[in-house]
């Protein structure tokens, strides 16, 4: 047994040596342009907790797909031969995210960190990116702080944020006739932020928020909150709950028969995995903002089919966003011939991007908010679902310029 292990270790060591020799001597060796003669992309997210299904291991897979596609596209022409993908679990805790980010940048020599759900964790990683002068592209964290007061030169925000969610759902639903709202939100940073943004968006669109009810977090029993909200006879109840709390609330909304009373339900933040786990029957008619939908058109579907072959499930917008961010980063190093962070930042700033994820996309140089078209989605009726994961109907496309916080409102001071 021990002999076998010895032989295997020796073989692995020999293999590693051969690989590293290839890396430095290959066609893309590009003398000194690449730190360690390789590029390392790190995905830092939730590998075991509430956001595991939303992004998690499948986003790592999406980034690996981007690397494979990049290598296939450029072959021998690629500026660097060795591209590695590494990942870490931040358990949705900012302190763990902080330590993990340092380890990824310093020990694993990550050139870029991607993803990072949970706003507090995302902000911790942004701080490390600024300190280490290494890139960070946030995909699944929602806070607008990343591109406002806490913005920095090395941090980009790719997919969505709380302002955009409010702008999409709050505005579109109000303009669609749901003018009288009641909001139920969890009483912590995310919920308070969402309540504020939604109220502003609804009022700007000519609607009114009759009441905002703060609820404990987490919470199982929402019956009374729903009764209170329904007593005001609103057109729409807007919920800012997420994950398990959202599912509890939706089940109890249905149980109370509020839909039959003509009170609609709008959800602040929802992922396709939530619909999948709760079932279309429970979610039918619910409206929500989506940054990207796999079955929107042929281009999206083509990528989603490949993703499904790899993972067995359809991609969430976070999965697709990770692919897009990774691919655009790799294209940037290809064009610039280096992984130097300052060069890549300069390359990305102001860049207009149109890929399967970013439609009419643009990387705003002033605050590093990446704007793009987003969508108001509605959950289909069970009878309209043609295949598994075919849950959404896109009822409105919100143009990039309207969907995100205007630059004039951003409090970002980028500096150097």
């Amino acid at each position: 047994m021990s002999t076998k292990r010895l032989v295997m270790t020796a073989a692995a060591a020999a293999g590693a040596l051969t690989l590293s020799a290839c890396g430095s001597g290959g066609p893309g060796g590009a003398d000194g342009e690449f730190t360690d003669d390789k590029v390392v992309l790190a995905v830092l997210n939730d590998a075991s907790g509430v956001y595991k299904d939303v992004s998690g291991p499948n986003s790592v897979k999406a980034v690996e797909m981007a690397v494979a596609d990049f290598q296939e596209k450029y072959g021998d022409e690629a500026v660097v031969d060795t591209i590695e993908v590494t990942s870490a679990d931040h358990q949705n805790k900012p302190d763990v995210a902080n330590t993990q980010a340092q380890a990824l940048y310093d020990r694993e020599m990550a050139d870029i960190i991607l993803d990072v759900p949970t706003s507090s964790a995302a902000l911790a990683v942004a701080t490390q990116a600024a300190e280490k002068k290494k890139l960070y592209i946030n995909i699944s964290g929602g806070t607008t702080e990343l591109t406002n007061a806490q913005c920095n030169k090395y941090t980009f925000h790719w997919a969505y944020d709380t302002y955009q969610l409010a702008q999409t759902t709050g505005t579109a639903v109000t303009e669609g006739g749901g003018t009288d709202w009641q909001i139920i939100y969890p009483d912590y940073a995310f919920g308070q932020d969402m309540n504020k943004n939604f109220t502003a968006a609804i009022e700007a669109a000519g609607g009114t928020v009759g009441g905002s009810i703060a609820t404990p977090f987490p919470n199982d029993n929402f019956s009374t909150f729903l009764t209170r909200a329904a007593a005001e006879d609103p057109d729409i109840i807007g919920t800012m709950q997420a994950g398990g709390d959202l599912i509890n609330l939706v089940k109890q909304y249905n149980e109370a028969g509020l839909k039959d009373q003509g009170i609609g339900l709008a959800v602040g933040l929802m992922f396709i995995t939530d619909i999948h786990s709760l079932g279309v029957e429970e979610m039918e008619g619910v409206q929500f903002a989506d940054a990207w939908y796999w079955n929107f058109d042929d281009e999206n579907r083509e990528w989603a089919d490949r993703f499904m072959e790899e993972t067995g499930v359809r991609p969430s917008f976070a999965n697709a966003g990770n692919y897009s961010a990774a691919m655009n980063y790799l294209e940037a190093i290809q064009e610039e011939g280096t992984d130097d962070a300052d060069t890549i930042v300069a390359h990305l700033e102001g860049k207009e991007i149109d890929d399967f994820f970013l439609r009419n996309g643009k990387v705003r140089a002033e605050d590093h908010r990446v704007i793009h078209d987003v969508y108001l989605a509605q959950v289909k009726a069970p009878g309209d679902v043609e295949e598994d994961w075919d849950y959404q109907e896109i009822i409105a496309t919100i143009p990039a310029e309207d969907a995100f916080m205007p630059l004039e409102q951003s409090t970002c001071e980028m500096g150097d």
Binding site: S48, S223, T224, F225, I247, A256
Partner: protein
């Protein structure tokens, strides 16, 4: 006035569910002296098993109300024979640690198998819709939970106080030596009672499946409320668990209605007040305090 009546009925419905869920915890502590920290995890297991049975074998809600508790009874019996019985003579802390570890294990196994987003569950058609009496509206399912829970609590109470088996079980726990001297094999009763308590937690899980998120973590916040219920009622007291369950349900609903953000804290304020005035809980015996 109508508003208050509406909230009262809602509180009783929520309370009945807490009472049923806490019942097993009280039975296990009362009879075995074991603080079963895994009660929340078993509740979760009940809901997950119901969802999986529905999805794979088409076992509907009504059948699950019988099948799942039976399965969990067997699980409880095995658990007691393999682990609990070996620790029962030691410091109670060992059983607390065992059941805590079991919670972590069960939660992670479910996460590994079914992910974290939860499982869907279709509400039985018969229990959909609302019932309206005057100005009071209540979902049919809540009314069902209320009636069903009260019946189960009543049955358990009758079983323990009015039958020979109940008498033996109570005698075994209160005066074990004397009961043994009378020729009763005390140990024989410990295992099924533990299994019974576990089955009750599973039953609460099945009941929760149609109206709560079925996730691996669904038991972790729930267990805290259940402990509040049994502490308020008096550890190990069956009647206490039932009364406290209703009390907590009412306090929670009125808290939600009139001080929403504090609605979970009010439960613990109630607990603190009860402990201050009656350290052993409303129906607890002093030696358990």
């Amino acid at each position: 006035m109508n508003e208050i009546l509406q909230y009262t009925v809602q509180g009783l419905a929520a309370g009945s569910f807490y009472a049923l869920a806490a019942l097993g915890l009280a039975v296990i502590f009362g009879v075995l002296g074991v603080v079963n920290f895994a009660h929340g995890a078993v509740y979760m297991l009940g809901a997950v098993t119901a969802a999986v049975l529905l999805d794979t074998l088409g076992v509907n809600f009504w059948l699950a109300l019988i099948v799942v508790p039976v399965l969990l009874f067997i699980f409880g019996v095995l658990l007691e024979r393999v682990f609990i019985s070996r620790l029962i003579a030691l410091d109670p802390l060992y059983n607390f640690l065992l059941t805590f570890g079991l919670t972590l294990l069960l939660v992670d196994l479910v996460k590994r198998q079914y992910g974290v987003s939860g499982l869907p569950y279709t509400r039985p058609e018969m229990l959909s819709g609302q019932l309206q009496v005057g100005e009071i509206r209540l979902p049919t399912f809540q009314v069902f939970v209320l009636v069903f829970s009260v019946l189960v609590c009543l049955a358990v109470w009758l079983l323990l106080t009015r039958t020979k088996i109940g008498m033996i079980v109570r005698a075994s726990t209160e005066k074990a030596e004397l009961t043994r001297a009378l020729g009763v094999d005390v140990n024989k009763w410990v295992t099924p009672v533990f299994g019974f308590g576990i089955a009750l937690a599973g039953l609460a899980g099945v009941l929760a499946a149609p109206f709560r998120a079925i996730t691996a973590d669904m038991g972790s916040s729930f267990i805290i409320i259940l402990f509040a219920v049994v502490v308020i009622g008096g550890l190990g007291s069956i009647l206490g668990a039932v009364v406290a369950g209703f009390l907590v349900g009412l306090v929670e609903v009125f808290g939600q209605a009139y001080a929403p953000a504090l609605s979970q804290i009010v439960i613990f304020i109630l607990m603190a007040l009860v402990i201050l005035l009656r350290p052993a809980g409303l129906f607890g015996k002093e030696e358990h305090a």
